[in-house]
Symmetry: C2
Subunit: 184 residues, 2 copies
């Protein structure tokens, strides 16, 4: 499969079969995430993989309070949930760089690693869904993480039980501006 | 090439040959970015592709002031620079979601699109380098963008003129925590 085909194949899956995901397949996805680039190679990520009854508790925590409007009711269908903890930058120089530029680079890094995870899953025929709308406080309590820790992204993983729909994207002309002419 | 191989192949390229990148190859990278997922399908990205003498002016702007300590002196070697403008979320619901969760989801979205771009480039044999440390104000002036616009990520694109080095990453055990046991 070419990369273009892989990108076309990947989609958000919100219906899952109850079948388990073999540990080796999960680890292949984690390995693709592990190899992701990050600013100053800081690798500011910790992947919490949750399954079984704990996973159902976590799904409830995600959808609790303000976040329980049914939008993500499918979460508990997936056999696995991954909560990605965003770690603070350890080294001083990149931390200062983030402060000066006012950019949370760690978030960019986490997004790259999770993108790798989801693309690897798609190549294996697995389905994922990025989830950004969840009760972070309740999730951290459920996982026993301190209040100061950060979880910006979660995702579901499992075998798709839907057919997907064609992608709806802006045309290339709407997302590209070309400046300058080639050097003679 | 499997996705794992592609991820292993992609690396940060900081030395470039002077050869031009054919427009069709550039467009293949932009197409992979175009198909990237984003929160609520908001596609909050605008890719400014800069070449020729304008590119050299932009490289100077990136490295101007506080940012001119030689760290990114290689930038002008690349035949192309891409400045990725992060657009604000248009629809109210996702904007509110970002405010409530205190997450700049647009940054996550941009990172995914740029990750697609860099992986597609790697498949084509092209080199890229993510750049987060640059004089954003000077870059926006150079591109004629308003002060309120945001550029969180830039990248170089061209033909690699180095051999690369092995990746240095934390082992899987250091980036994964497993919670719960499979359902019986």
């Amino acid at each position: 499969m070419t990369f273009t085909d892989l990108v076309r194949t990947r989609r958000s899956v919100r219906r899952y079969k109850p079948d388990d995901v073999a540990p080796a397949l999960l680890d292949t996805c984690l390995e693709a995430a592990r190899l992701a680039p990050s600013a100053c190679n800081s690798q500011p990520w910790l992947f919490h993989v949750v399954q079984g009854t704990l996973k159902s508790d976590l799904a409830r925590a995600m959808n609790s309070g303000l976040y329980g409007k049914g939008l993500n009711a499918f979460i508990d269908e997936a056999p696995l949930i991954v909560a990605v903890e965003t770690l603070p930058r350890e080294r001083l120089a990149p931390r200062l760089a983030g402060l000066i530029r006012n950019v949370r680079y760690e978030m960019l890094d986490v997004a790259i690693a999770v993108d790798h995870f989801t693309l690897q899953a798609a190549e294996l025929g697995l389905g994922t869904c990025w989830i950004g709308w969840f009760n972070e406080k309740a999730v951290k309590e459920q996982l026993g993480l301190p209040p100061k820790s950060r979880i910006d992204v979660m995702l579901t993983l499992g075998w798709p039980d839907d057919r997907g729909a064609p992608k709806n994207r802006k045309p290339l002309g709407a997302i590209v501006r070309r400046h300058g002419t080639p050097s003679p």
